[in-house]
Amino acid sequence: MSATTIGGGATTPGGGRAAGDDAGGVAAAAGVAVPIHGRAWTFGRDVDTDLIIPARYLNMKTAEELAAHVMEDADPDFPRKVQSGDILVAKENFGCGSSREHAPMAIKGAGIPLVIAKSFARIFYRNSFNTGLPILVAPEAVDGISEGDTVEADLATGVIRNATTGAEYQAEPLPEFMRELVAAGGLLPYLKARVAG
């Protein structure tokens, strides 16, 4: 194995303040970009991982079990109210706190196909990418979306459309390395190919 700089040298994603670990940008699912169309649930800044999935449930590790408690401490009825296809919209620093991958697992397990935020905490950013939960960094979209609005998003282009108001927004682009990981089918296939190579 050779020493490597990934993605052709220095990259400063997004311009200005980095959004999360290891970059800001269009995310992350190691799959095909399917158009997303769902109802928005809005949250404030600093939504922490204990709020997303309280530690008392960390003796579980399947998406199904965890999804039954997603965002429960923010709103005890949320796991019942959220419908498959709904999306989360939050302000700065979404996913701060613990490294628990159970947080993106719980969100994904609830059928939520996308989180849009002004910025993401760094470990949550990595974990979303690694577990295939699409996330978009789009501050203007966050300001332009109200709870209950219908939102459409194209993960391939990063275009977000508020179907309720008609406004359209552009998410920060995906850094080149993230594209490489996505193309490889995710982190572990990427690393496996490196070792084999």
């Binding site: 490597t4 990259t11 600093d46 309280p54 530690a55 008392r56 960390l58 490294s99 470990i123 690393l191």
Partner: protein, 426 residues
């Protein structure tokens, strides 16, 4: 090219002469770890991906500390999965009850991590080892699975922020107060993605325990890592302890920093972080009206011997307030034994505090001290998020051991002076 400590360590681990902030690299890890929450998910991912070997069985530690001694059947299953994985791959740094301690106290104590290392852990408080002059950062379970299999992990090289702290600290003010003060100034995402580098005469005078406390909470400012330049205190700590060769790395005098903050140590009071963010700080002396139900003294932040000595200094000859439960949790077996031999347990028991087995336990609302609705705790741990220690409508106030112990005696948030302790300025 001028570089910071963090940049130099990452350049070495990437096999490059130099790196700069923003650059994406693949680095070789010197050590990786997971716990009973994160390792089982990592093992699942490792197996799903079809890996059949680990990169180095001596450089992986799986530490069941969060819910141990196993709090329920589900937890027992998780720890069993870790035990079996370690047996299968010859990973000997697996420690069961009787040997285990809180991971970020245990690994430095055992000499498994040290200066110049690149350490990744599937636990956000992995940043603790920056106190030793290591680059250490928290990652998720899938990253841990990749690191265990290949010994590699990708990073975006962080910018560094420098904190220069000068002068003597007021009486009873500790590393915990410095880091709470710092987070209060920067906010919980004030160092998002960045490295926090701590220097200055105040830092030079801090014990290794105090530095571990500070580095531990770098994540609470959103940082990727916290780091302290090694000095004689570092060298004395790792001497005959660290199992590999230390690599002492220092920032170049003209290295670039995104920001430099300067604190005057004399301005830092005994601090408390109020619910529900570690940045929601206020001087402890201003919070006397806040009545409490529980005090927790322990964790990867403040469960080391120096912390227990501080608590004992305040509790000696005192009684815990009748309306308060005071739970003391030495972070490792070695700390437990030392505290016992120093007579600290006699002080705690006389004060009617309880001493627990090493565990993360109540810090994350796991077990061994959960709060009911409407209850309030003062805790030496690191997070005070909604529901962190129990019921979603319970509250956690973060503080250092002196304030925690004084509050246990007073029944409300208090400083040592307010319960009759006296100490001169350092």
């Amino acid at each position: 090219m001028s570089m910071t400590i963090t940049e130099k360590i990452l350049a070495r681990a990437a096999g490059k002469d130099a790196v700069q902030p923003g650059e994406l690299i693949i680095a070789k890890v010197d050590f990786c770890l997971g716990n009973d929450v994160t390792a089982p998910v990592a093992i699942d991912e490792f197996e799903k991906a079809g890996f059949d070997s680990v990169f180095d069985s001596e450089r992986i530690a799986l530490i069941p500390d969060h819910f141990t001694p196993n709090k329920d059947i589900k937890t027992a299953q998780l720890v069993k999965q870790m035990r079996e994985f370690c047996k299968k791959f010859g990973i000997r740094h697996f420690y069961d009850v009787g040997r285990v301690g809180v991971e970020h106290a245990l690994l430095p104590e055992m000499g498994l991590v040290g200066p110049g290392d690149v350490v990744v852990g599937a636990d956000s408080h992995t940043c603790t080892y920056g106190a030793l002059g290591a680059f250490a950062t928290g990652v998720g379970s899938t990253d841990l699975a990749g690191a265990m299999a290949t010994g590699e992990v990708w990073f975006r090289v962080p910018e560094s922020i420098k904190f220069v702290i000068e002068g003597g600290l007021p009486p009873y003010v500790t590393g915990k107060d410095i880091i709470l003060y710092t987070i209060g100034q920067t906010g919980v995402d004030g160092a998002l993605y960045q490295a926090m580098e701590f220097t200055g005469s105040t830092i030079d005078a801090l014990s290794m325990e105090a530095r571990l406390t500070m580095a531990n909470m770098a994540i609470e400012a959103g940082a990727k890592n916290g780091i302290f330049p090694a000095d004689d205190i570092t060298k004395a700590y790792v001497h005959r302890r660290f199992l590999r060769e230390p690599r002492y790395v220092y920032s170049d005098p003209d290295a670039a920093y995104a920001t430099t903050y300067r604190w005057n140590a004399a301005d830092i009071p005994l601090m408390v972080a109020k619910p529900h963010l570690p940045s929601n700080t206020q001087a402890a002396a201003e919070l006397n009206g806040i009545r409490i139900d529980q005090v927790v003294i322990g964790s990867c932040t403040n469960g080391r011997i120096e912390d227990l000595r501080m608590a004992a200094d305040v509790l000696r000859g005192q009684k815990v307030h009748p309306d308060v439960r005071c739970i003391v949790i030495p972070a490792t077996q070695a700390i437990w034994q030392q505290a016992m031999e120093e007579g600290l347990f006699g002080v705690f028991l006389d004060a009617q505090a309880v001493v627990s087995a090493p565990t993360c336990g109540p810090c994350l609302g796991g077990h061994m001290g959960i709060l009911a609705e409407g209850e309030r705790a003062v805790s030496t741990t690191n997070r005070n998020f909604v529901g962190r220690m129990g019921h979603p409508r319970s509250e956690v106030y973060l503080a250092g051991p002196y304030v925690a112990a004084a509050s246990a005696v007073a029944g409300h948030i208090a400083t040592p002076d307010q319960v009759g302790s006296r100490k001169a300025a350092a």
